[in-house]
Amino acid sequence: MLLETFLISDEQVEVLLSDLLEQYGYDFTGYSRASLKRRITRLYTMDKAVSFGEFRYKVNNDNAYFKRFVEQITVNVTEMFRDPAFFKRLREEVLPMLGTYPFIRIWLAGCSTGEEAYSISIILKELNLLHKSLIYATDLNPAVLERAAQSMFGLSNMKQYSENYILSGGTNDFSSYYSANYSLAKFNEELKSKIIFSAHNLVSDHSFNEFQLILCRNVLIYFDRDLQHKVLTLFDDSLEELGYLALGTKETINFSQVAKKYKRLDAEKIWRKMG
C-alpha cells in the first residue's frame, strides 16, 4: 500500500492520542511514534477518509469506528509456535520445571488473536500438565479477544504452523489438534479449557495475580523506554520468586532496574527471577 507520508502530521497524531485518552481512557502516549503514525496513516488511507477533521470526528463520536481504530493502530500479527527455538526451550526446560508445582499460573500479556495461547496449551497437554495449569491470556483490545476465544485460525496457515510445531520439538500429528472447516481450522475444545481470555491494558491496569510464567512477546517494542520500564515493573510485581519472564527475540530487560533480580537463560529471551 502506498503510504502518503504527508497525509497525517505529527501534530495530528498527538491530537488523536489525546482524544483517545480523554474520550475513552486509552493511553497510547507511551507508544513509539513512528509505528503508530504509520498505522494511523494506513487506516486513514484504507478507509478513504476525506479530511483529518472527518476522521477525527468519527474516532471521537462513532463507537464502532473507535473500536476499529484501536484494533487497526495496534499490531495484531502473530503466529503459532513463532520462533520455534523459544517454544522448544519452554517445552524442554521451563514448563517441566514448573510442572513440579501443584498448580501452574501463566500470564500471556498482549495475546492478540490467541495463537500463542493455543501453542502453550498444546505443549502443556503433551507434557501432561494442562489439567493443573491456567493460562490468563490478555489484550487491551476486546475485538481480538473475541476472535481468540473462537479458537479458529486460517487453514492456509496450518502448513507453516505445523512446521513451527515440529521445529519446536512437537512429535504428534499437528493436524490432530484441529478439525478443518471450510477455510478455517477449529482447534479442539480441550485446548481452550484452561485459557481465560480477558481484557487488560498494560498501560493503565494493575497486577491481578501472581504467576510462575509471564510471556509478553513483541509488545514492548511498541513502547517507549519509560513505558517499557513501567510494564517490566508490573511484570516483576506479578511474578513469583523463581518464576520466568519471556520476551520477544529483540526485547530485553537489561536497561531496567528489575534486571538485577533476574538471571537470563542462555540464548533465549527468558529470564528467571532469583529474588
Partner: protein, 194 residues
C-alpha cells in the same frame, strides 16, 4: 546535498555481492550512520552481520530497538521485523504485516527515515526482484532527500532499481565499483561545493 546525516541501503536478490564489494571502500571516519535493509530468510539472523563485519573496519551490528543511530556504525535490520526510524534518531522495530511480501520492508525504513532526516538523507536501492523500496524512494524525494540506485545493467536482478528508475526521479545511478567512493564523498562534502 548540503550535509548527509544518514545513508540507507536497501536491496534484495543479488544485493549481498554488491555490499561485499562496497563496504571495504567506505572510509572508517565516515560522518554518518549507514543502515542496511536487505531481504533474507527468517532464521539466518546472526550470519549477515558477521559476514559484513569481515569486510570493513567500521562496526557492524544488528539493530536493537531504541538504539540511537550513530556515525561510524553500520546497522543491519534484523530479519522478520520492520525497522523504523524515530524523530529522536533512534530505531524502533515493528512486527506488523509484511509489505511487498517483505519483512523487513525497505519502504518502511526509507519512509520513516525520509520524514526524520528530510534533505539530509541519502538512500540507495540495489539489485532485487520485487518493487519494495520504490515507494520509499519516492517519499525520500518528496521530503527533499537524495535517491540513488544501482545501475540496473550491473544488477544481478534488475527489476528493483529499474522500477525505481521508471517511477522516481533518481539523483544518481551508480555501478557497484563507484558506490563506496560516492558514499565517502558525501561524508567529506563541504557546503560550498554545492
Amino acid at each position: 546535498m548540503e550535509r548527509c546525516e544518514a545513508f540507507i541501503i536497501g536491496g534484495s536478490a543479488g544485493s549481498l555481492e554488491v555490499l561485499l564489494k562496497v563496504l571495504p571502500v567506505i572510509d572508517a571516519a565516515i560522518k554518518f550512520p549507514i543502515v542496511i535493509v536487505i531481504h533474507r530468510k527468517h532464521g539466518t539472523d546472526s550470519l549477515l552481520p558477521d559476514l559484513l563485519s569481515g569486510r570493513t573496519g567500521l562496526q557492524v551490528k544488528e539493530t536493537d530497538e531504541k538504539e540511537e543511530l550513530k556515525a561510524g556504525f553500520i546497522y543491519i535490520a534484523p530479519s522478520d521485523y520492520h525497522l523504523l526510524i524515530e524523530r529522536d534518531h533512534t530505531f524502533s522495530l515493528d512486527y506488523s504485516e509484511k509489505i511487498n511480501y517483505s519483512r523487513p520492508s525497505i519502504d518502511v525504513t526509507f519512509q520513516t527515515a525520509a520524514e526524520v532526516y528530510k534533505d539530509k538523507l541519502a538512500c540507495l536501492l540495489l539489485s532485487g526482484s520485487n518493487s519494495d523500496g520504490v515507494k520509499g524512494l519516492k517519499n525520500v524525494k518528496e521530503w527533499g532527500g537524495m535517491a540513488v540506485i544501482q545501475d540496473p545493467r550491473t544488477a544481478q536482478v534488475a527489476y528493483m532499481p529499474a522500477q525505481a528508475q521508471l517511477n522516481v526521479q533518481i539523483d544518481r545511478v551508480l555501478k557497484p565499483e563507484d558506490m563506496g567512493e560516492f558514499i565517502n564523498l558525501l561524508s567529506n562534502r563541504k557546503p560550498q561545493n554545492e
